[in-house]
């Protein structure tokens, strides 16, 4: 058996360590590949959303490299994500590929689900080792996201432009070479130390921008054209509300708790949307935007793939949130793009505007 899996931001670091630990043979598509994106676009329905196309491209790349099993997780939120797997397998089978498809149902993700679905992978692995490997994988997801968050904090304050970016590039290379959890953890801790040593401007008071929107686009730096890095480079502190670890908290960890805590974001969204769910993560877009406006963020940016229904539903509420709190909100819709000029123009203009506003209010 040879496994392949698609990319979603930095999750590969953890998945790769898991597969190396349990000794599964696999092929991982390159994390940054316009080639794969193009493959996905060529074989997808034209009006599909970008994440679908990117994931399909990764599948094709994997199957071309001899994989016979696809591992994919999807949730059953009210959006097209519901039939990603069905449609993708149909497209791939029509293209003539033969493969097994392991489908993790992410909306009811438990140890039981993981163990039963991943059973074939764990063949020959003791149950105790399998459980501990899954636990390490979850921990690694959190640690990696933590590192990226720390990078956002440092990047906008660094004295020498680009020092954070080079540390993160080095980390990505090192984590790419790492085999198993020990080496991955080493890469993580080295990067953390390097980040803590970056010379920063103590007087820096960067504008704080909250990023809300569709989860795939927000956690996948390839798809969001490295929004965190771009904003940081412009001297803005970007706080990304959507990441795989946030998602794990909501679905995996919360599901294990005997008493479910009230979700603050969903509660905050009720003022604008009287619903617990508007599909995808739309309700979190609304709720998190409201929460961040209340806690003094300078601006909010919503990012979603062209044609994303839940985010389109959420968008009008953002206008109201912006008006009520006096916090500027900008929406960026992404699709396959090879030129970043327009995107950078908007980010820069938005950051400039927030900076001028901040200067003005601190002067008066």
């Amino acid at each position: 058996m040879k496994l392949t899996f698609p990319h979603m931001g930095n999750v590969y670091i953890s998945v790769k360590a898991l597969l190396d630990t349990i000794g599964t043979d696999y092929y991982m598509p390159p994390p940054w590949s316009r080639d794969n994106m193009q493959r996905g676009i060529n074989n997808s329905p034209e009006f599909m959303c970008l994440p679908f196309k990117k994931i399909l491209g990764d599948f094709i790349d994997g199957l071309e490299h001899g994989a016979d099993t696809i591992l994919f997780g999807e949730s059953c939120g009210r959006c097209r994500m519901n039939y990603y797997g069905d449609l993708q397998t149909k497209i791939l089978r029509d293209m003539g590929y033969r493969f097994d498809y392991i489908h993790l149902n992410l909306s009811s993700l438990t140890y039981g689900e993981i163990m039963s679905k991943l059973g074939p992978l764990f063949k020959g692995t003791g149950k105790a080792l399998a459980v501990s490997a899954v636990t390490s994988a979850v921990r690694t997801i959190f640690a990696v996201d933590g590192l990226y968050r720390a990078a956002c904090f440092v990047r906008c304050r660094e004295s020498v432009k680009g020092s954070t970016d080079s540390i993160m590039l080095e980390f990505e290379e090192q984590a790419g070479r790492a085999r198993g959890f020990a080496e991955t953890r080493l890469a993580l801790s080295e990067a953390r130390v390097k980040l803590s040593r970056v010379a920063t401007d103590a007087r820096a008071d960067p504008v704080k921008i909250g990023i809300v929107g569709e989860i795939f686009m927000l956690s996948d730096m390839f798809s969001n054209l490295e929004i965190e890095k771009k904003l940081g480079g412009m001297g803005a502190f970007a706080v990304n509300t959507m990441s795989v670890s946030e998602w794990m908290k909501k679905h995996f960890i919360r599901a294990m708790l005997p008493v479910k805590p009230r979700d603050k974001a969903v509660a905050a969204a009720q003022k604008y949307m009287r619903a617990k769910d508007i599909g995808g993560h739309g309700i979190y877009t609304v709720g998190n935007a409201e929460l961040m406006c209340r806690s003094g963020f300078d601006g909010i940016i919503q990012v979603y793939p062209f044609t994303c229904m839940p985010e389109i539903t959420a968008q009008p509420a953002l206008g109201e949130i912006s008006e009520k709190n006096g916090t500027p909100v900008m929406t960026l819709i992404l699709d396959e793009m090879t030129s970043e000029t327009g995107y950078v123009t908007r980010l820069e203009a938005f950051t400039d505007m927030l900076k001028m506003k901040k200067e003005k209010s601190s002067a008066s």
Binding site: N36, T341, G342, V344, T345, R346, E348, A349, F350, D352
Partner: protein
């Protein structure tokens, strides 16, 4: 000096320390930004002679390239530049309507600070190039488009949501015998409706409202805006070069703050030849398109690579050498 390298026009403005424009140029980019820019610099030099430039700012979609070629002190986005210019010419301005060749913008200000903006680049129906095309179809020179619109007594209704719908709508109306004047006026209204729906959404438009960008020359559009908004629309004196003027003001501000001498290579540098090249890097599957600007066999800058493999290697044109070209030019 401010330089705005847009997709349709390349504008240059030289202003003195008081924000007064000494000379302005409006050139067609015609898909060759480097040529338009160097032509502009040569013309500017001929016009102003040995003027001393204390700072250069660039803006527009070609701002990065223009910054590299001229050795600009500051490279700024169009929103900030347009707002800076509008604030200077119409103090207290609250709303800026801007329609250029390939995009359109709306900028809201309060107490001299930008509070909100929106940009449209995906919809052709809300831009100047749409009018250009329709003017051509109707056989009217674009400069006279506005006066045709004003002559109309009964503007035709034309769908403005999408350029494709608008065009087929317009052709059908033409075939049923509507007069050219009425169709032209209808198009102006359709464009304004598209603009307000796409960009202004339901945001409040406060006065003073100013209208700038190349399309502001079109009196028909200005009249349609006044009608739709029920407000007076001011067209500033330098409406067609506001981006470049804003860039010049930003460069001036930057000079006052830093006090550093300019890194401008001089007008003479425009007589050098510049080559731009895009290469697809084969380092990995991402295949970044790496841009390279070369002058006389030397690389001025490279960008577009994610990993920094190419962009790290850059050399700048030494200022002295650039000046020694003067005798040859």
């Amino acid at each position: 000096m401010g330089i705005d390298v847009g997709s349709v026009s390349t504008d240059l403005v030289v202003s003195n320390g008081n924000g007064k424009i000494l000379s302005k140029l409006y050139l067609r980019t015609q898909g060759r930004p480097v040529k338009a820019l160097t032509d502009g610099l040569k013309l500017m030099r001929r016009e102003l002679g040995g003027i001393d430039i204390s700072g250069v700012g660039t803006t527009g979609s070609g701002r990065q390239l223009a910054g590299i070629i001229t050795g600009a002190d500051i490279v700024k986005n169009e929103i900030t530049a347009h707002a800076a210019a509008a604030k200077r010419l119409v103090p207290g301005v609250r709303t800026i309507l801007e329609i250029g060749g390939q995009d359109s913008k709306i900028i809201f200000l309060k107490d001299g600070v930008v509070t909100d903006f929106a940009m449209n680049t995906v919809c052709a129906a809300g831009t100047g190039s749409f009018l250009d095309r329709q003017a051509e179809r109707l056989g009217i020179p674009i400069e006279r488009f506005g006066e045709y619109a004003l002559r109309s007594k009964n503007p035709t209704r034309i769908a403005g949501r999408c350029a494709v719908f608008a065009e087929s709508d317009m052709i059908h109306k033409q075939q049923t015998g509507h007069s050219t004047e009425d169709i032209v006026a209808g198009l102006c209204r359709a464009l304004v409706r598209n603009y307000l729906n796409n960009l202004a959404k339901c945001k409040e438009i406060c006065e003073p409202v100013i209208f700038q960008g190349g399309v502001a020359a079109n009196v028909g559009i200005a009249a349609a805006f006044e009608e739709a908004l029920g407000k007076r629309v001011i067209i500033p004196q330098y409406y067609d070069v506001m981006g470049a003027y804003g860039a010049a003001l930003i460069a001036e501000h930057n000079y006052e703050l830093s006090g550093k001498p300019t890194s401008f290579y001089g007008f003479e540098n425009a007589y050098n030849t510049f080559e731009t090249k895009s290469t697809e890097c084969n380092g990995c599957g991402n295949r970044c398109e790496v841009m390279e600007v070369k002058s006389r066999g030397r690389v001025l800058a490279r960008w577009g690579d994610r990993c920094g493999r190419w962009s790290g290697k850059k050399t700048t044109l030494p200022a002295k050498e650039a000046q020694s070209r003067e005798s040859l030019a």
